[in-house]
């Protein structure tokens, strides 16, 4: 018997029992579409976080006091501007080191008011981070040296306080002190939940006086190339540890952040997909069950086919192909539904979804494999039926 014939027979049999076939497929459809959706959402989340990190700029090393890790408490900083100068000497390229002092403050412009993150930084920030300007200029060395009260606004802050008016050259009051706006950043979105468009950047020296502190929150270093990141990171950490014996400093790179987050999200996606995979397995058991029923129901037909010259392998092939068709059609339907569902989720909710070809290919492969695995036992039973007994069956 030709394979095409076996396929035709199997399709015919499925068509004869439309409702039963559809219900049997449903288990596989649900399983496959759940796997596809969850993998798409998981991958989408991972991609989104990765692009956020990559969007910061390239080859960045962040230096913070204390331990950095998931769940680690923020440590009271003892770093100050002299440490920044020290790190500049260690790095050797002062233009590739910048600093930050952060504080949440209220800003007023006329009657408009906003709660923002005031970031004290310096003229080197744009050398390290990607923060394109929409209007005006960045902070300058003179701004920092002379503690000028000037500010560069994040795009959302500018919109909230000034609306359609160009803020450059206008005044804003931060914690009671009047600042002159010199620039506005382009929108860059959020990174790790930090809304970078809701920041106001002021000279670090001005910020320290405004907040009444001498500390700084962190130092950012830009490496000259990807291969320079690790040695530079080690050099900075070692130098700080030498300066402050017995204290810990952490330096973290984008690659390390990406690795950690990628691992966590990958595991999460894997666990979710595995749970969805269980429902696929249950669907497979349903296929096996219905195939056994089908073999029993069609015992006379099997006996007849054998009497007419069907060999054991012909009957086996017919029923095996029937089972595989059930799961494959179910699988393809599930893939289509899953892709549709993922796209719908991406379109209607903030959850991103990324459909990867490998996950679709895997879902298809698993559907076929489930059909073979769960179809073999019923098909073998059909193939081994004794024609004399089968012909007499009710």
């Amino acid at each position: 018997m030709r394979t095409a014939e076996a396929f035709r027979m199997a399709l015919e049999a499925l068509r004869t029992n439309r409702l039963r076939s559809a219900l049997t497929m449903l288990g596989v459809i649900i399983g496959v579409s759940a796997v596809v959706v969850l993998v798409a959402v998981g991958t989408g989340a991972k991609n989104a976080v990765e692009s956020e990190i990559a969007g910061l700029g390239s080859n960045i090393i962040l230096v913070v006091p204390g331990r950095l890790g998931v769940g680690a408490l923020p440590t009271q900083s003892r770093l100050d501007l002299s440490d920044v100068a020290y790190v500049r000497r260690v790095v050797g390229d002062p233009g590739k080191v910048t600093v930050s002092v952060n504080s949440g403050e209220t800003v007023r412009v006329g009657r408009a008011e906003a709660f923002v993150t005031v970031v004290g930084t310096d003229e080197n920030l744009p050398n390290i981070f990607d923060r394109p300007l929409r209007r005006g200029r960045y902070l300058s060395e003179t701004d920092v040296d002379t503690r000028r009260r000037v500010a560069v606004l994040g795009s959302e802050v500018a919109e909230k306080l000034f609306g359609d008016v160009d803020p450059v050259g206008r005044q804003a009051t931060i914690s009671g002190a009047r600042f002159r706006v010199v620039g506005v950043y382009e929108a860059v979105g959020a990174t790790f939940g930090v809304a970078r468009d809701q920041e106001i950047h002021v000279p670090v020296t001005t910020a320290q006086r405004l907040l009444g502190v001498t500390r700084i929150n962190g130092i950012a270093v830009g490496a000259s190339g990807p291969d320079q990141i690790e040695p530079l990171q080690q050099r900075v950490v070692d130098a700080l540890a030498e300066r402050y014996p017995g204290e810990r400093f952490s330096a973290v790179t984008q690659t390390q952040l990406l690795g950690t987050i990628g691992t966590v999200l990958g595991m999460l996606t894997g666990v979710l997909a595995a749970i969805a995979g269980i429902s696929l397995l249950v669907g497979g058991v349903g296929v096996s069950n219905i195939m056994l029923v089908s073999v029993r129901e069609r015992t006379r037909e099997i006996g007849l086919r054998k009497a007419l010259g069907a060999r054991q392998r012909d009957v086996l092939a017919q029923f095996l192909i029937e089972a595989v068709l059930l799961t494959t059609i179910g699988g393809v339907t599930g893939i289509l539904l899953g892709v549709g569902g993922a796209l719908l989720i991406a379109a209607l909710s903030p959850v991103p979804a990324a459909i990867t070809w490998w996950s679709l290919a895997l879902a298809f492969g698993v559907s076929v494999a489930v059909g073979v695995f769960f179809g073999v036992a019923p098909a073998r039973r059909a193939g081994r039926l004794d024609p004399v007994v089968a012909l007499r069956a009710e």
Partner: protein, 267 residues
């Protein structure tokens, strides 16, 4: 029709020596056949008769290669079935024997033409040729107008004629008919018998009937009575096998012409 395609054409259709078949029924051995010697030549018309439980069905299953003897030898078209694997046995069954069952055994949701073409699928015949041969077979039993009908849309007599067409489509040497008229009224039964007789006469296909109806059995040229797993009486053994077919032919040119006429009437 090409007759020379198979070797052993002149060998007896069936040749059984000391054929036995016993079953284990709840641990007890039941001897359904207890040593049957039998020879059925090409083109014969034989009725196997006997009461129920006599072993005639078992004999039928053995002749049809659906089952294997416990002991003894059985040659079908000169081939000893004991030497064949299950697969080879299925292939022999496909080529050598056509079955007609009491309850027709048609696939319920399948049109007549596809029911008839079924044996050819297992022979690897391409679809177009299958349909062509199935159509010809249906025309030869006068059902050229019922190609696309499903069994449920046909009368019992028509269904059995579809089954006969299916038995013939593979061009076997023997048609084994198990109570072919058992589920039919006398008019349809007579029609089915007439078709079987005509095929026997025109094509030289050996017909082996299993029946318990004396009037059906009487229409065969040879009667074999089976009782308690043995052949009790064989009307054919005394005079040897009768001359095959031709004597009953309706007339010269009746063969192919006859079926064409029927097909023509149908349209």
């Amino acid at each position: 029709m090409i007759r020379g395609e198979r070797p052993g054409r002149e060998a007896p259709a069936f040749e059984a020596v000391g054929l036995t078949r016993s079953y284990q029924l709840e641990g007890i051995a039941v001897d359904a056949l207890r040593g049957v010697d039998l020879r059925i030549g090409p083109g014969e018309s034989v009725a196997i008769v006997g009461p129920s439980g006599s072993g005639k069905s078992t004999l039928m299953h053995l002749l049809g290669c659906l089952d294997r003897p416990t002991s003894g030898t059985l040659r079908v078209n000169g081939t000893d079935v004991s030497t064949l694997s299950d697969t080879e046995l299925a292939e022999l069954r496909n080529r050598a024997v056509g079955f007609v069952f009491q309850s027709f055994h048609l696939l319920a949701r399948t049109p007549a033409i596809d029911n008839v073409a079924l044996p050819l699928i297992y022979r690897g015949v391409p679809r177009a040729e299958r349909r062509e041969r199935a159509r010809a077979a249906l025309e030869s039993v006068g059902l050229g107008h019922r190609l696309g009908h499903r069994p449920s849309q046909m009368s019992g007599g028509e269904q059995q004629r579809v089954a006969i067409a299916r038995a013939l489509v593979g061009d076997p040497r023997v048609v084994l008919a198990d109570e072919p008229t058992g589920n039919l009224d006398s008019r349809n039964g007579a029609e089915v018998m007439a078709i079987l007789e005509r095929l026997n006469a025109e094509r030289g296909v050996a017909i082996v009937l299993v029946t318990h109806e004396p009037e059906v059995a009487a229409r065969a040229r040879r009667q074999i009575h089976v009782r308690d797993g043995l052949i009790e009486l064989d009307s054919g053994t005394a005079g040897g096998s009768e001359e095959p077919g031709g004597s009953r032919t309706g007339g010269p040119g009746g063969g192919e012409g006859g079926s064409r006429t029927e097909a023509g009437e149908a349209e």
